[in-house]
């Protein structure tokens, strides 16, 4: 399967030039760009590991591309995303989020059904990769 989270997961994988263009857009809006990484792609895993702080005062998207590539050196087999944070009153949350690196093999998710009364079901979703402990997932 292909993890479809983020703004551009239905497009071909982004090149460094693409990442630069999108990061520059965020910077030009006044948003702080940051890089995050995980080996737990559950759709409700909110807190991916932070690759450093959000780059609050960075005017140049080249620095973002640099950090993405530094992160890839250590975590090339995991999911890496770029997010943009907007501190404007009334928003104060994320404005952009897109995946810039993914494992070569994405085993996907298992749907677990717990049968209840009256044909009711409780559903949960588990990543197949999570059978391995943290650090040993995705090879």
């Amino acid at each position: 399967m292909r993890l479809r989270q983020g703004q551009f997961s239905f497009l071909p994988d982004l090149t460094d030039q693409d990442i630069h263009a999108q990061a520059q857009y965020a910077i030009d809006q006044g948003w702080a760009v940051s890089v995050e990484v995980t080996d737990d792609p559950h759709p409700r895993n909110t807190y991916w590991e932070m690759w450093g702080h959000p780059m609050f005062d960075n005017p140049d998207a080249a620095a973002v591309v640099f950090e993405v590539n530094e992160c890839r050196k250590m975590h090339g087999g995991k999911y890496i995303r770029v997010i943009a944070f907007d501190s404007t009153p009334g928003w104060e949350s994320i404005r952009m989020s897109f995946i810039v690196n993914r494992p070569a093999d994405e085993p996907g998710f298992r749907l677990v059904r717990q049968e209840g009364e009256g044909r009711s079901l409780r559903y949960s979703i588990e990543s197949y990769a999570l059978r391995e402990p943290e650090g040993r997932r995705y090879a």
Binding site: Q5, L11, P43, P89, S93, I94, M96, S97, L111, S120
Partner: protein, 489 residues
Amino acid sequence: MNDMSDAKTVTDAKKRYSAGVMKYAQMGYWEPDYTPKDTDIIALFRITPQEGVDPVEAAAAVAGESSTATWTVVWTDRLTACGKYRAKAYRVDPVPNSTGEFFAYIAYDLDLFEGGSIANLTASIIGNVFGFKPLKALRLEDMRLPVAYVKTFQGPATGIVVERERLNVYGRPLLGATVKPKLGLSGRNYGRVVYEALKGGLDFTKDDENINSQPFMHWRDRFLYCMEAVSRASAATGEVKGTYLNVTAGTMEEMYARAEFAKSLGSVIVMIDLVIGYTAIQSMAKWARDNDMILHLHRAGHSTYTRQRSHGVSFRVIAKWMRLAGVDHLHAGTVVGKLEGDPATTKGYYDIFREERNPMALENGIFFDQDWASLNKMMPVASGGIHAGQMHQLLTYLGEDVVLQFGGGTIGHPQGIQAGATANRVALEAMVFARNAGRDIWNEGPDILRDAARTCTPLQQALEVWKDVSFDYVSTDAPDYAPTASVAM
């Protein structure tokens, strides 16, 4: 206009309160020198007086009938601070280019209203007065709601920002589709459409307004099959997915029961119809806030009173009431689709949904500055006759915080529902990507779509099938003022 009328409030108390009939303007409902207080509620009516009726007297009558007046003088007024409780018409302007129509500005003291109740507000403002004989027609065009009043309402249960955080979707419009045919599918077949559309790339599917619990599909059956579909699609894509389960029913008790069941199955969203009424909407908004549920409102029935320019209630007023009442999603027009909506008026609606503060913008039909006092923002929903080939227009007109609903444009795809959903999602992502990368999507949109279709056959097919579809009719409700007009407050 404001100095044309010779009507003056009768100040001599003996004359004013002697039994009999008197002009509304003389009774104190016309005060051309009145300056509205910051805490006043202001209503702007479009009035069309009958032949021979003075527009100022007509405006005073509207003020009177929507506040304290009756048709004759009553001495019991004198037991109250009646000057305070009388609504005051304070300004009457001829409508540009519309003979016989006038804009009447009427101010109401805050104490005329119970806090936190749309029912109470509307019982005054659109209560008796719309059937008043001296008027040929009457339309409530806009309202200024003071911060003190706004703060008595909960507002949207979730709001745009938290909805995005819950769904984990940022930086692009959300995508949805209404299941079709809207009536007749069994629960099992209905869930198939939901699964295919969500797996193909949509964020949401939607019940239609009249899908409740009919012989062909009872509500529990629909909820169970839909949530199986939502959960399977979520596992297949790694995304949070939702389907608007319509809980509209004949009683509040039944609506709560259905909403609780939707919650127990793990749904992130439920849906209601405008026809359930303002109080029921507010109750469901409270339930949604208490249960971490997004609340979708389908504006079923609104065109019966919003569409005609001379009579009824403008949709911009309905939008304001719904933001107070506390829904998260509300349909607001597409500009380019099959349903009514000119671009300038629709922009006015979208601003009311999404902004912290609306400055007066006559060119968009917004007559007052409106401060929303940190009430959550509502997510506009665009649906009705839109398709992937219009993506550049939709993104330009409607922006990023919107749900684009492609019903026919998903389910009618020649290669099936999943392909239809994928075509829409690819078109959307490609357009957002291009816009961010600095391209002129308004002019280069068709090229951007063609390029994206090179690696996406479903998009190629969608562009081919719907290439000539557009709905180009004259709008029945456009702003009265050209972009340059300005009216001093």
